[in-house]
């Protein structure tokens, strides 16, 4: 099989993983399971980034998103000693919600398919974007948001401690 075909196969495998895990995140009746299914969706997304030559983003996704954010969520759930499974996690607007989501999906994807028809991602390209070029971009064109986001993280850190600590 050609490289192109292999890439298609990999895409479909992980697309199914992401979709399946995503659906389970929003339907399962157990909070811990939902967080774990989110890990599945996030890992699938990381695989997509690798497929798209964005290795650095893929690693950040695994380390920060899966490693930090989801672990934080699980810790948070454990700390609250909240009931982790209940049928009452869903409200009674599920058909309406499904209708809204389906409408958004149909409209968005029809427009997207029409607009980007014929636009190909060229997998034959030898070199992907290097981590070095991302570093250069962050510290040249994007240095200002980078500095601002550091203040944002500091504020979030201080704030989370203030709110969560016992008085």
């Amino acid at each position: 099989m050609s490289a192109e075909t292999w890439q298609q196969v990999v895409f479909w495998i992980f697309a199914l993983l992401i979709t399946g895990a995503g659906v389970l995140v929003v339907t399962t009746r157990n909070v811990i399971h939902a967080a774990l299914w989110l890990v599945g969706a996030l890992m699938g997304a990381a695989a997509m980034y690798v497929l798209l030559f964005a290795e650095f983003v893929a690693w950040v996704q695994v380390l920060v998103y899966v490693g930090a954010i989801v672990v934080l969520m699980l810790f948070g759930l454990m700390l609250t000693r909240a009931p982790i499974g209940s049928a009452e996690f869903d409200n009674n607007q599920r058909p309406l919600a499904a209708l809204c989501a389906a409408a958004v999906f149909v409209v968005t994807s029809v427009i997207l398919i029409g607009a980007f028809e014929g636009q190909e991602i060229n997998f034959a390209r030898t070199a992907g974007t290097s981590t070095e070029s991302i570093g250069t971009a962050i510290f040249s064109s994007y240095v200002w948001p980078f500095e601002v986001v550091s203040i944002l993280l500091l504020a979030a850190l201080v704030g989370a401690v203030v709110i969560a600590r016992r008085d």
Binding site: V107, T108, I111, L112, G114, A115, F116, S140, S141, Y142, V143, W144, P145, V148, V149, I151, L152, L154, A155, A156, V158, G159, A160, V162, I163, D167
Partner: protein, 488 residues
């Protein structure tokens, strides 16, 4: 490049960035100082923060009249940026004055509160000069996230907790929707710089996709500026939050959202204005009308101000429905009227909140029925409150009258008569509930006669704000001349 050369010819225009840097440094100073202050002198964080904001204001003034871009066009200093940076500084000073007594007596983490407030304010200062999508998005988040924490600072109060949770979920949701739109904009144009987006969106774009992406971005912003039908979080959040924080949310946070929206719509997307202009007309109509109608039956001053603030957002949205780059004059007038409205709104809304805070500090109540006969209990407070409410209602002799008139004139000039008519009807409805409060304060008799002492700092701040509104009414050129030069 050797060091001497780097110092002589820096690649970064530090002067252009100085307001943002001074404020960031002040925030960090407050955080560190708080570490070493003993419990009984934690309040010193407030004068320290005020000094930091004054320093920022000085940096803003030092840039007056300049036009510079730096960091590859991500930051652009022009009169528009400076006017809003200055406005955020003034809002910060007024909110500090309101917070001082409240947080000192409540002992709600004073040092951290002032740090978070400065951070949130920094978001506003950064967004004023941001001309690039990533910076815009980060600055918006820098406004919201500290504001969420400030909302939760009354930790033992369940209402404050819930207000924070509601605010948090809506804020994160709006960010996600806005980002989805921004990612599509990036896909269409291949750039995050607003000027490049502007030039490539008109030529290369496929129309439905442009409309879709702009709609996602606008929905994201509509949550931030609490436009109907995305306003549900606002009144509950304002009511549950500590009241100085509610004042901050209703002004700094909302104006921050509007600055982002103005920059995007006037700078990045004007060439495709025909596709999205009707959406703003609908949004403006809904926001004005629903905000005012619900405000009519509010009995709680903070909720009244929240709904009236929603309606006020509607008047600013009118200007966005007038954008038309093919008619430069009308377009410029729309932007000017939006700037004038936001500046005046910021001051008068804060004034009304400050009066409510001053009243509640002595009486402990926020219900409108308790405002009966305020004139006999505290003539100063009643007069100031009446001044701010008249300004919000848009009646002379306060600056709010000009704010409404300019937007109205812009709508007439752009020949969108039906929107001007909707605005006129709404101004009448709004005048009803504002004047009802004024009537209650001056004509009804009080249930208790106990006089109300207004803290000195609050009284001075409200006095200056009311005087400024009066002065702008008499001499509007002061503010319109600034707005004239603030073209994007």
């Amino acid at each position: 490049m050797d060091l001497a050369q780097a110092i002589a010819q820096p690649s970064v225009d530090w002067h252009a960035l100085s307001p943002d840097i001074v404020l960031a440094a002040a925030a960090c100073m407050v955080l560190i100082a708080d570490l070493f202050l003993p419990e009984e002198s934690k309040w010193l964080a407030m004068p320290l923060s005020a000094a930091g904001i004054l320093g920022t204001l000085a940096a803003v003034v030092s840039l007056a009249g300049e036009h510079r871009t730096t960091l590859g066009g991500a930051v652009e200093i022009d009169t528009f940026a400076l006017v809003f940076k200055g406005l955020f500084c003034v809002i910060g000073l007024i909110v500090l004055a309101m917070s001082f007594g409240y947080f000192r007596s409540g002992r709600y983490y004073q040092g951290e509160y002032y740090f978070l407030m400065l951070c949130s304010l920094l978001g506003g200062v950064v967004i004023s000069s941001a001309r690039e999508l990533v910076t815009l998005f980060i600055a918006l988040e820098l406004i919201s996230i500290p504001a969420i924490i400030m909302t939760a600072l009354r930790k033992a109060d369940v209402k404050s907790n819930e207000a924070a949770l509601k605010f948090f979920l809506f804020s994160v949701l709006s960010t996600a929707v806005m980002l989805y739109g921004m990612s599509l904009v990036y896909g269409i144009t291949g750039s995050t710089k607003l000027d490049e987006i502007r030039s490539s969106i008109a030529s290369s774009a496929d129309e439905p996709l442009v409309v879709l992406s702009v709609i996602f971005v606008v929905i994201g912003f509509a949550f931030k500026i609490s436009a109907v039908p995305f306003h549900f979080w606002a009144p509950d959040t304002y009511e549950g939050a500590p009241s100085p924080v509610a004042a901050f949310l209703s002004t700094a946070s909302k104006i921050g959202g509007f600055v982002g929206l103005l920059v995007l719509m006037f700078r990045a997307f004007p060439e495709v204005a025909d596709t999205w202009r009707p959406a703003f007309a609908v949004l403006a109509t809904l926001t004005m009308t629903v905000g005012n109608l619900i405000a009519l039956r509010q009995q709680h001053i903070i909720r009244l101000l929240a709904y009236s603030g929603i309606a006020q957002s509607g008047y600013v949205l009118v200007t966005l429905a007038l954008i038309d780059p093919s008619r430069p004059e009308a377009n410029a007038q729309a932007l000017e009227s939006a700037i004038v409205y936001l500046v005046i709104y910021g001051i008068m809304d804060l004034g009304a909140f400050a009066a409510a805070v001053a009243f509640a500090r002595k009486t402990g109540t926020y219900f409108l029925s308790d405002y009966a006969g305020l004139w006999r209990r505290s003539p100063v407070l009643a007069t100031l409150m009446a001044g701010f409410l008249l300004s919000l209602a848009g009646t002379p002799p306060m600056a709010g009258a000009w704010a409404k008139l300019f937007v109205f004139a812009a709508a007439i000039n752009s020949e969108v008569y039906w929107l001007a008519a909707v605005m006129g009807v709404n101004a009448v409805i709004a005048a009803w509930y504002y004047l009802a409060v004024v009537k209650r304060m001056f004509l009804d008799s009080p249930e208790v006669d106990e006089p109300i002492e207004v803290p000195y700092l609050l009284r001075a701040t409200m006095g200056v704000a009311a005087f400024a509104l009066l002065a702008v009414f008499i001499y509007p050129a002061f503010i319109t001349s600034l707005a004239d030069r603030s073209l994007l």
